[in-house]
């Protein structure tokens, strides 16, 4: 009986030949990551315990990305604590404002997280790195503290569900729509405690940006991790980026899955997840007249250059509707510079969008676009829970960047076909 890619990575990091789902293992950690919110709690835990040591300064990553540049005194204090910790321990991968980005876009871009790694992060969207063929999962700050202190963490080997995507993607449909459609199909706990393994000819053709978007939202189906087989696309993406050697793992043909789900993507339209669950999805053609106050394009889900190019295609020659705010947030400094070079900023500014420095800000209702009572937003982010982007009586609709851009132009949730001029 063979093993899945997830099982193989975990076995290798537990120092055993074979693992089976349900096994409790102690896994060696390749990268332990924290941001300004979760790392502050790690520092607290260390203080309570009276320890001030880390297992390896090369394997800890700290990124101030949530409330940065600091939005108030409290967030400035947590960033300061993290900065001092990074300085004191000479953390190699600390990214200050000016070189930081939203961590889940930044770490793949910098080649810090790699195929075959076990990555744990004090953020639920750590599962993003599964796009590269790593086992990556979110943990709370106590688990993160344990990982940073010992370089190990106990994990239960998850069962895997295999998702197979056949057919050809329709126009304006991308990784975001595939993952929203999948979550709509299986529900927000449809992959609870399990690994989601994404396969099929559509996935083989899907660019890294789309894979990162899909793996990012595995947690919205309750999954422990989402994972892709590393291939030529992975190799091309990592060329010139990878900071160290890595190992490619692949699932055995006779690996055992808890379930296999197959989709014909030719039938899938752009998806919109209605409040207040990511699983509450509808096809764009089924969406009636829903006015919006704000559109957000960015985040760890959809803030990469490919996302901004799609938004620009829709926005070129168009203007944001009166009384609507369009907030565009390149996820990293590199994405920011690239978008500027390609002239995307002119398109955005002509359309009357604002362009922000990289931050998680509005996605979590933190800053840079918090919603008032009764307001409604369409957003390329990953969650639409009650109060996620601000007031508990505000609403968030999730979509891909093309739909968000088209909606900003129309002032209501719109199909990009209605708007795009090219």
């Amino acid at each position: 009986m063979g093993m899945t890619i997830t099982e193989k990575i975990l076995a290798a990091h537990a120092g055993v030949e074979k693992v089976t789902p349900g096994d409790l293992i102690n896994a060696k950690i390749d990268i332990a990551f924290g941001h300004d919110l979760s790392a502050a709690e790690v520092m607290d835990t260390f203080e309570r315990l009276g320890v001030d040591q880390i297992f390896d300064r090369e394997k800890i990553v700290l990124v101030p990305d949530h409330f940065t540049p600091s939005k108030d005194i409290k967030s400035a204090e947590s960033c300061k604590r993290m900065r001092e910790f990074a300085k004191r321990h000479q953390i190699s991968h600390y990214y200050e404002v000016g070189e930081m980005g939203i961590a889940h876009a930044l770490l793949p871009e910098k080649g810090v997280v790699l195929p075959g790694d076990v990555v744990v992060g004090g953020d639920s969207h750590t599962c993003t790195y599964g796009a590269l063929g790593a086992f990556a999962t979110g943990v709370g700050s106590t688990d993160l503290a344990a990982a940073m202190l010992t370089g190990e963490l106990w994990l239960k080997v998850p069962e895997s569900i295999k998702f197979v995507y056949h057919g050809t993607l329709q126009k304006w449909v991308d990784g975001k729509d595939l993952i929203l459609y999948t979550i709509g199909d299986i529900g927000v706990d449809g992959a609870l405690y399990r690994a989601m393994e994404f396969t099929g000819e559509v996935i083989e053709r899907l660019p890294m940006s789309g894979r990162l978007t899909m793996a990012n939202m595995a947690v919205e189906a309750g999954a422990k991790n989402g994972i892709f087989q590393p291939d030529g696309v992975t190799e091309a993406y990592l060329r010139g980026r990878a900071v160290r050697p890595y190992t490619r793992f692949e699932s055995d043909p006779d690996a055992v899955y808890a379930a296999v789900r197959e989709y014909d993507v030719s039938q899938i339209e752009p998806q919109v997840a209605f409040p207040h669950l990511p699983s509450n999805t509808r096809s764009i053609s089924q969406v009636e007249n829903i006015s919006i106050d704000q559109a957000v394009i960015g985040s760890c889900t959809n803030g990469r250059i490919e996302d901004l190019r799609i938004a620009a295609r829709v926005l070129r020659g168009n203007k944001v509707a009166p009384y609507v705010r369009l907030i565009i947030i390149p996820a990293t400094q590199e994405v920011y510079r690239q978008a500027m070079r390609e002239g995307l900023f002119d398109i955005f500014l002509d359309a009357k969008a604002v362009i922000s420095t990289p931050t998680c800000g509005p996605c979590v209702g933190g800053h840079m676009g918090v919603l008032a009572k009764g307001e409604r937003a369409i957003s390329t982010t990953n969650r639409n829970f009650v109060g996620r982007m601000g007031h508990p009586e505000s609403e968030v609709y999730l979509s891909n960047p093309a739909v968000a851009a088209a909606s900003a132009v129309k002032g209501r949730i719109a199909n990009p076909e209605e708007v795009a001029k090219s």
Binding site: G50, G122, S124, T142, V386
Partner: protein, 174 residues
């Protein structure tokens, strides 16, 4: 260990954004988390709860963000235990790591109503609804997780194992 308390019920997919909105997470003060516990569902929840009360919820409790203030907020206001059909996995780990007992039981949430008095045996997983006069069997807590609870969470457990001597909050960082 046997817990006894009054029940507060919740539905499916109670997410960490409603348990504790992120605006309050720049703090590391448990009391501050407690004041906003369940704000997205009932802003006065923390005032209504009495120490020892128990939450009974449907499926996927604690989904969403990995924020540890979520179980800390619930523990701080005095909730002694959560029973749900299933928990989101990060919340599940976090709850044990901060020393908040939680039990998975497929049946009990279908019958136990708000305001009922229940008794929970953490060692065996037996749940007795004293108002109904009926018992339910939860999945027993795995031995490894029981060790965590006994030691007061993961870090105290590690401190013991690694002989870091801490865990009491007495030693300061140097």
């Amino acid at each position: 260990m046997i817990l006894r308390g009054r029940v507060w019920t919740f539905g499916n997919d109670v997410d960490t954004d409603v348990i504790i909105p992120v605006q309050y997470c720049s703090s590391t003060d448990p009391q501050e988390f407690g004041k906003h516990c369940m704000e997205g569902i009932d802003p006065d929840f923390h005032k209504k709860v009495k120490p020892g009360d128990i939450i009974v919820a449907n499926k996927n409790f604690g989904c969403g963000s990995s924020r540890e203030p979520a179980p800390i907020a619930i523990k701080t206001i005095g909730i002694s235990c959560i029973i749900a059909k299933t928990f989101a996995r990060i919340f599940y780990r976090n709850a044990f790591n901060v020393g908040l007992p939680i039990l998975e039981c497929a049946e009990a949430p279908n019958y136990i109503k708000e305001g009922h008095e229940i008794e929970v045996n953490l060692d065996t997983g037996e749940i007795r609804d004293l108002s109904l006069g009926r018992s339910f069997q939860a999945k027993p807590i795995p031995p490894f997780m029981q060790d965590l609870l006994r030691d007061g969470g993961l870090m105290n457990h590690l401190a013991k194992k690694l002989d870091l001597r801490g865990g009491s909050g007495s030693r300061k960082m140097v």
